[in-house]
Symmetry: C2
Amino acid sequence: MVKVLDDNADDGPDHIGWRLWQASRLWQEDFVAAMGAAGHGWMTDARATLLGHIGRNGTPQSRLIARMGISKQAVQQLVDGLEGEGILCRVPAPNDKRARIIAHTPKGRAALRDADRIKLEIEERYRRALGEEQLSALKAALAWLSRETGGKNPARRG
Amino acid sequence: MVKVLDDNADDGPDHIGWRLWQASRLWQEDFVAAMGAAGHGWMTDARATLLGHIGRNGTPQSRLIARMGISKQAVQQLVDGLEGEGILCRVPAPNDKRARIIAHTPKGRAALRDADRIKLEIEERYRRALGEEQLSALKAALAWLSRETGGKNPARRG
DNA sequence: AAGGGTAGTCAAGTTTCTTGACTAATAGGT
DNA sequence: ACCTATTAGTCAAGAAACTTGACTACCCTT
């Protein structure tokens, strides 16, 4: 009879995928919490990700779709929600009557400033703990993973 | 009139949180795809995360809840699903008539073997690309982030 | 002007995770 | 033994973040 011993009783799994998931989740929790504390209670993980892809002068919705690796309908629904919150607005594109530019409202720009500040604060916290060298290595490694494994993500299908 | 120039037209945002999210997502995509190819088409991101927390000899549901940082109902539903797929089963705990041990079925153990292999394959791919040194640095940095920022996660409420 | 690809919308459904309300068993103090 | 608080788990309902499928409107090429 085998002794009933839980072989990962201590601290959970240990493969790199789990660590990535965990770290990502914790970063987002931190970020959303800090944004909430700064008065932007509407912020969520998914919205933060979307907003990160929108430039200061706006970004065509089609480009958001191409970049984010999720379906165009998902992007649309996220934008719908943020439009409803008064953070984003859709303006017609000058060249193409089909296209819309997703841009920040004044309220959105205020949130953007706070978000940028908070991102830097979190990164600074990481830097203090890991040290400049290890943080740089982390960023470099993640950059490779995003580029190499993610480069082939062909905007999905329709 | 400002020139309409999208300031992140090239490759998206660049803060560490986004990189973590991206890397995590790509790992999971790889893993789920490889598991699907190995005949385990029922595998999803969330299920992979849950299964990673279950020891070879089973793990009490309450411990899963404490570890995973999600609500007990979420764990329950995930387990329900995997029980329905024939991957997991709930056996009564010997000491405590309330408790249930979540354990693998034979089918679940087969999946576990494939999962372990695939995790190693993905990690090996990362190792070839990043080199041993950079991969170690990545793992060390992620370990810190999980431990330090995540240690205070008090099993939520509920 | 015709046909094919692109930009976006509408509708409906799935997965994953949430809060709230509940039952049953255990643990501790009196 | 008895009451109470805590712990383990379930049931029900719902929100968030996605998905596929079907559609319209526009652009570009031939």
